[in-house]
């Protein structure tokens, strides 16, 4: 009888990698190698603040999102008008969403572990956002107060997303730097409403995620 235990899949795969690479890697060599990688691409803004905001609006519209500008004092009126134009009356909202932004004439249901079937019954969802990327027309949502869990921004057919101008960056690297500290939170990058180009490469708006995305940019 032999006492040699057969190698686990894990050990065998790691062993094969080490043989292929001619040795074992470690934190120090990985760290020094990573630090010296070439990063000659654009990593900071090149446009004026105003230019960045205009770029965001343009890129969001290009991907079928509807964009409205507002001021901090005018957010509630803007929300009311936008929802009235869409004919939406009953929306789900995450915990921590600013009450001052909610028009009293409409119904906002707090998302307290609503089931997918319950989420499927509301007219839409209203959230804030962590950061927005102008160059790609993207809003980034994380599971924090005012943005909530992922299912709530997914199952309803309409998403109204509020973006503060302070949270708008020009490039993808700037956005990643901003969310690096909260990297382990559930995170969703949203660039326009749900879409597909699976049929003859024709972009069609709306498959499974919200088919309509409105963004209020608070400047």
């Amino acid at each position: 009888m032999t006492t040699d235990k057969p190698l686990s899949a894990r050990d065998q795969i790691l062993h094969r990698i080490r043989v292929a690479n001619g040795g074992t890697s470690n934190a120090a060599t990985a760290q020094s190698g990573w630090s010296s990688l070439a990063r000659g691409y654009k990593r900071s803004a090149t446009q004026t603040r105003q230019g960045v905001l205009i770029l965001l609006e343009d890129r969001l519209r290009d991907y079928d999102a509807h964009v409205i500008r507002s001021t901090p004092a005018d957010v509630r009126r803007c929300v009311a008008e936008t929802l009235a134009a869409r004919g939406k009356h009953r929306l789900v909202m995450p915990a921590g969403f600013p009450a001052a932004w909610l028009p009293p004439s409409l119904t906002f249901v707090m998302d307290e572990c609503m089931t997918p079937a319950e989420l499927d019954q509301v007219d839409g969802v209203i959230t804030g956002s962590t950061v927005a990327i102008a160059e790609t027309g993207t809003v980034v949502l994380q599971n924090v107060l005012g943005q909530g869990r992922r299912a709530a921004t997914l199952v309803p057919d309409y998403h109204l997303c509020l973006v503060s101008a302070y949270d708008v960056v020009e490039t993808v690297p700037e956005a990643i730097a901003r969310i690096q500290a909260t990297a382990t939170l559930s995170t969703t990058f949203v660039s326009g409403p749900s879409a597909t180009a699976d049929i003859e490469m024709t972009r069609i708006k709306g498959v499974h995620g919200p088919r309509f995305l409105d963004v209020i940019l608070i400047v």
Partner: protein, 485 residues
């Protein structure tokens, strides 16, 4: 269309399959249209980026660095994912990966799963294994749904149903969803898919996904998609099972700033695809309560061990090389006999088979280099193709079998002829005599050969050869030198 799964072990050689595909004019026109559209979209959004070449270089360096330190980054990913509540499994090959996934689905208590499009699950033919175990998989990506309902096979790594046009898709949906009055506008078809799948999203308790990136630094996983079906599968089920090749690791979260710029622009010609999901282990307040991830080798370490071919592993599965390839654009994907078609398939598939199958694929290329030019991580596909051709020849000519290989014998004879001037001249004389019965004169009195015997016939099948000149350059030069002296 193609009967049975795309299995490189049993697929016909590329030239045979390609010839059949070339006869299907509907297929060719569908593939041509789709690849034209996608290439134009890509070119537009790549041209917007003045730093595109710097991004490509960064992408290449990040991927090369990852492979050099793959053992460290996989262990780091495992530790961080486990700490965040995920369960990490390792699979040496496809069979082990299938076994693990099937047993995890069974343990989840479900006899059905909702699936995100995943080429890795296609690679290991997971659906067949699930069905054999009494588990019903539902593909939820629109293209994968078309493939599944049409009992078809994927022909492109990003747009798997690219070979089908809207009328063909309507016919599949009419038949399988029982919608006799369904229209053929893309919007009608997408709406039908939305209704068909929504009930499954809300009901099925177990999800299966692939992964675009595993982040070693955080233990997080990133999935990139368009429709929201991915988010449904990642968010609503109680159990999520993700399967990823060991090559999918990125060192750090920051590296997403490169890959999330390269991938969408290269894959679908979008500045950013509609949805990217990033999650880390289990969050009790958001998403599945149980998360498993299977890290699969399946010959990737073999590729890693080949210094000249290991750049194959840098691939981030964007499909740009397929759209740009003049061969793929003619044949479509099925001719490659593998779920990985086109230029990347021509190098990846035979290596995943450890060069035992799919030996014709390294030759399914004119080496024009269009694939290299569009590759977002600068994989030099033509270089790897040539390296693999060399491997195929070495493998087939080593040992006893090599003695009986006609092509190898011919190549040896050629080498002997080229080594000696005397033998070279003799061969030229012999050639002029041998060609005589094959030469036909055209109206200008030029001699052409349009048919060659035996193995040489491949050459004359699509082109005519000029007859050999009556006087070689060498003869002419010697005569001329003689006069000068």
């Amino acid at each position: 269309m193609s009967a049975g799964p795309l299995d490189p072990k049993t697929a016909p050689a590329f030239p045979m399959a390609a010839k059949a595909a070339m006869g299907d004019s509907q297929l060719r026109s569908n593939v041509r249209h789709a690849t034209d559209v996608i290439q134009a979209k890509r070119a537009r959004v790549v041209d917007e980026m003045p730093d595109w070449q710097a991004l490509r270089e960064a992408g290449k360096q990040i991927r090369e660095h990852t492979m050099r330190h793959l053992d460290f980054y996989l262990e780091q990913f495992e530790a961080n994912c486990t700490r965040a509540g995920g369960v990490v499994h390792w699979a040496r090959d496809a069979a082990e990966a299938r076994r693990i996934v099937v047993s995890l689905v069974k343990a989840s208590g479900s006899d059905e799963v909702i699936k995100i499009k995943s080429m890795t699950t296609e690679e290991i033919q997971l659906n067949a294994a699930l069905e054999a175990a009494g588990i019903q998989p539902y593909e939820t990506d629109l293209a994968e749904l078309i493939i599944q309902l049409g009992q078809d096979q994927p022909s492109h790594i990003v747009v798997p149903a690219l070979h089908k046009n809207r009328q063909q898709i309507r016919e599949i949906f009419q038949r399988t969803m029982h919608l006799p009055n369904l229209g053929d506008q893309p919007q009608d078809l997408a709406d039908a898919a939305r209704l068909f799948l929504r009930e499954k999203f809300l009901r099925v308790k177990t999800g299966v996904s692939g992964a675009n990136f595993l982040i070693a630094e955080t233990g997080g996983v990133c999935v990139v998609e368009s429709e929201g079906n991915g988010r449904m599968c990642l968010t609503l089920p109680e159990t999520l099972i993700t399967i990823a090749g060991i090559d999918k690791v990125l060192p750090r979260y920051q590296d997403l700033e490169v890959t999330l710029q390269l991938l969408p622009r290269s894959a679908t010609g979008e500045r950013m695809n509609p949805y990217n999901s990033i999650w880390t282990g289990v969050d009790p307040a958001d998403g599945p309560r149980v998360f498993h991830i299977v890290l699969m080798d399946n010959a990737r370490t073999e590729i890693l061990a080949d210094e000249e071919a290991r750049q194959t592993l840098n691939c981030i599965r964007c499909g740009a090389c397929q759209n740009a390839c003049p061969v793929y654009r003619q044949t479509g994907g099925h001719a490659y006999g593998s779920v990985y078609a086109g230029p990347i398939g021509a190098i990846l598939t035979p290596q995943l088979q450890e060069m035992h199958h799919a030996q014709s694929l390294p030759y399914a290329s004119s080496l024009c280099g269009a694939c290299y030019e569009v590759c977002p991580v600068k994989i030099n596909i033509p270089e790897v193709l040539i390296h693999l051709r060399n491997k195929v020849v070495l493998q087939n000519t080593s040992g006893i079998a090599g003695l009986f290989d006609v092509e190898a014998a011919a190549m040896k004879a050629m080498a002997a002829i080229f080594r000696s001037e005397r033998r070279f001249r003799a061969a030229q004389r012999l050639g002029r005599i041998a060609e005589t019965p094959l030469v036909r004169k055209d109206e200008h009195g030029l001699g052409w050969i349009s048919w060659l015997p035996g193995m040489l016939g491949g050459w004359s099948q699509t082109r005519d050869l000029r007859e050999m000149p009556k006087e070689t350059f060498r003869d002419w030069w010697e005569k001329r030198s003689g006069h000068d002296n």
